[in-house]
């Protein structure tokens, strides 16, 4: 569907098709929306979505990822893997400088890794298999792993492992370092000013190592708190780029029809957001597998896709999004089948016990989705009570396991070992946290499969393990998978080449240019 939208719009735009062959033009200012206003811009300390979107153009990682999630050179020019898959050698690009003019070297890489281990929970987790990191010379970094770790090349994306300037951070208190407010990176754009509540301004890095890039002179990230006002800002020409999720879904078709407007669902492949319902496996009727299966059969997920998400996205088949590695759809299928759901509930002996449903307080779309799911579940005889709550209250309830069904969506980071296992293995059951195994699913076989899968070689063996894990999970329904979300990015067609990588707008302005 998104591809068809894209294609249709490319054709509608007319200009776009020949544009692929066009020479990039230099110069120009792009206005983009950033929603919500980020809490900070220091990527090593803050990892919120909006922070990444702005700072991904200021900072860089060692690698970049194509839409197919193949690693591409960024600060690392090339890399090699040893025979035993335990030693990774990265050759760094020469002649790279920080925005303040100091050269970027292997010492910065070593420092960044040490700093991230303290400040970046996911990086710490990703680096758990690393035994030691060394720099034999200024432009070489060698990672030695404790054991082979299949997804290792997937952890160097700018948001997962941003490079931090050692000369500005070494020996300081990271949290109070003055450069947190005016970040210095190696990226194509430099931070210039931030008018709180109004805009963030980035300017071209004139000394960028890729000659000719970036093409744009300036980026203004406009901060507009109201969704309707963001749509209007695009219509009136105040902004040229609406990143995914910054306008309500029902506005997307209307905006898409505007003149000179291009829409794409691409640019989220690395994150692959997957929406599901947490089902509290610990207590009440949901402790019974048959009730959980009944929930899968009871929910009309195609309706959710077509009506609530305006046809964007894809119905999920299981714990992995179809865009990430080792995905298989060779699993038990759960089509919309209320009769089957009713039969399963009867078999499980469900007697109308009350079940609490927590919607996600992220705006209209999610609220409507909560109402539709509630209706679906009531139709098969489940006694559902919606609990109204805000984001913080919902997080607290989920973290305290004080819920029966709750909406959520999580990023998957390209590999089941990085983004999937954390929600199903029993070692990830920890009260008080929101993004781990909060459903309380515990299955020693699954634990073993994910433990083996992370370190197995070669790829074919990993695939076999993850195929098995997916099959087993889909049979057990520890959570009810809903949709692979797709957040359409809406741009003025004159903004070219914005989305070229698996993280889209998050590092896309490096290649973007403006056709005037």
């Amino acid at each position: 569907m998104p591809k068809r939208v894209l294609l249709g719009l490319l054709l509608a735009c007319g200009l776009a098709a020949p544009a692929l062959a066009q020479e990039p033009k230099t110069g120009g200012v792009v206005n983009a929306v950033i929603q919500p206003e980020p809490p900070g811009l220091m990527l090593a300390l803050v990892q919120n979505g909006p922070t990444q979107m702005v700072s991904g153009n200021i900072f860089e990682g060692l690698l970049r990822y194509s839409p197919k999630l193949e690693p591409q050179p960024e600060l690392a020019e090339s890399w090699s893997v040893s025979e035993d898959a335990k030693t990774y050698t990265f050759k760094l690009r020469k002649g790279v400088t920080w925005h303040d003019g100091k050269p970027f070297t292997a010492a910065d890489v070593l420092f960044s890794i040490e700093m991230l281990k303290q400040t970046h929970a996911r990086a710490r987790n990703n680096l758990a298999q690393v035994d030691k990191v060394e720099a034999p010379d200024d432009y070489t970094v060698v990672f030695t792993l404790k054991q082979p770790f299949g997804p290792f090349l997937g952890i160097f994306e700018v948001g997962s492992m941003p490079m931090v300037p050692k000369h500005l951070y070494d020996g300081t208190d990271f949290k109070t370092n003055p450069y947190n407010n005016a970040p210095i990176g190696t990226g194509p754009f430099m931070f210039r000013e931030w008018q709180k509540g109004s805009f963030i301004r980035l300017v071209k890095n004139p000394n960028y190592y890729e000659k000719g890039k970036p093409y744009l002179d300036e980026i203004y990230w406009q901060i507009i708190p109201d969704a309707a006002a963001r749509s209007v800002a695009f219509e009136t020409g105040k902004v040229d780029v609406l990143p995914g999720g910054s306008v309500e879904n029902f506005d997307v078709p209307r905006l898409s029809k505007l003149k000179d407007t291009c829409v794409t669902g691409a640019g989220w492949e690395f994150f692959s957001p997957l929406a599901w319902l947490w089902l509290n496996n610990r207590q009440g009727p949901l402790a019974d597998k048959r009730v959980r299966q009944a929930i899968m059969f009871a929910i009309d997920r195609d309706f959710a896709k077509d009506v609530i998400w305006n046809g964007l996205g894809k119905v999920a088949t299981g714990p992995s999004a179809s865009t990430i590695k080792y995905y298989t759809d060779d699993v038990k299928k759960y089509p919309y089948d209320p009769a089957k759901a009713k039969a399963l509930l009867k078999e499980a002996g469900y007697k109308g016990e009350k079940i609490r449903l927590l919607p996600l307080a992220y705006g209209e779309t999610w609220q409507r989705w909560g109402e539709a799911v509630k209706q679906n579940l009531q139709d098969v005889g489940l006694n559902i009570e919606t609990i109204a709550t805000d984001v913080a209250g919902g997080n607290q309830k989920i973290g305290d396991w004080d819920y029966d069904i709750a909406f959520t969506y999580l990023y998957q980071y390209g590999d089941p070992a990085l983004g999937v296992g954390r929600n199903y293995v029993s070692s990830a059951i920890a009260k008080g946290q929101v993004f781990n195994n909060v459903e309380g699913y515990s299955n020693p076989e699954i634990d073993k499969l994910f433990a083996d899968g992370a370190v197995a070689t070669p790829d074919s063996e990993r695939k076999e393990i993850y195929d098995k894990a997916q099959k087993m999970l889909v049979e057990d329904v520890p959570v009810a998978w809903m949709l692979e979300l797709q957040f359409p990015t809406i741009t003025r067609c004159k903004v070219k080449n914005l989305i070229t990588t698996g993280i889209g707008v998050n590092d896309g302005f490096k290649d973007a240019w403006l056709d005037k």
């Binding site: 969704a227 309706f303 109402e371 139709d379 109204a388």
Partner: protein
Amino acid sequence: MKQFWKSMLGSPSGIIGLVILLLAVAVALFGPMLFPNSPWRMVQRPFLPPFTLGTVPLGTDALGRDVFAGMIFGARVSLLVGLVSTLVALVVGIPIGAMAGYFGGRVDDALMRFTEFFQTIPSFALAIVLVAILQPSIYSIVTSIALVSWPPVARLVRGEVLSLRTREYVQAAIVTGQSHSWIILREILPNALSPVIVLASLMVATAILLESSLSFLGLGDPNLISWGYMVGAGRTVIRQAWWITVFPGIAILISVLGLNLIGEGLNDALNPRLSREGR
């Protein structure tokens, strides 16, 4: 009593108001029987304009739910919240006002300072805070609306009681040794009630508006459909689908108008001086 109905039905506003209220009550009572389907059920394609299909006369909303069914079920919630919260406010406000007016002195001071404490806080802001703290549900909404609307009742009753207390028949009752509660309940309150009844009819209207405003802001009971919720949920799509907001909006307008007209009619009927001057 005869006199009351005569003058109530004699004023056009009273009649119109009564008709509207009776209609609304009838819809609230019997409507759901005619529409056994839940108003949350998705029955047709989304954003179906009104007057295109007989089964969904007022069109469908963003999820394909019947706007007409929503309005009928919404009447129940709106009227229920309006009536119950007014009743609760009266139950709280009348005794406080009566005691303050009757006993005077320190009791009066204490009760009135307490009342002013509630009056100084903007009522809608207080209602939002209360509902947010208590978690939105029909009970918390009724409670918070009642809590912000009883102070005017207390003030009004106090004023009435203050003036009635000095009348000779009350003095006589005190002299003959009647108990305080007897005097308040049997001698004073019945004579103080007419302005309270007028106020109460207006309070029901205000309560309906308050409930709608709360639901509009997303603080309604998530398990019950109400007019305010429909307006709030339809607000963001008003450019694509005006009917989702307009019809429930009209329902709120008419029912509040009806209650205000009744209040006016009651005022005419219950205030003999006014009505005699009037005609």
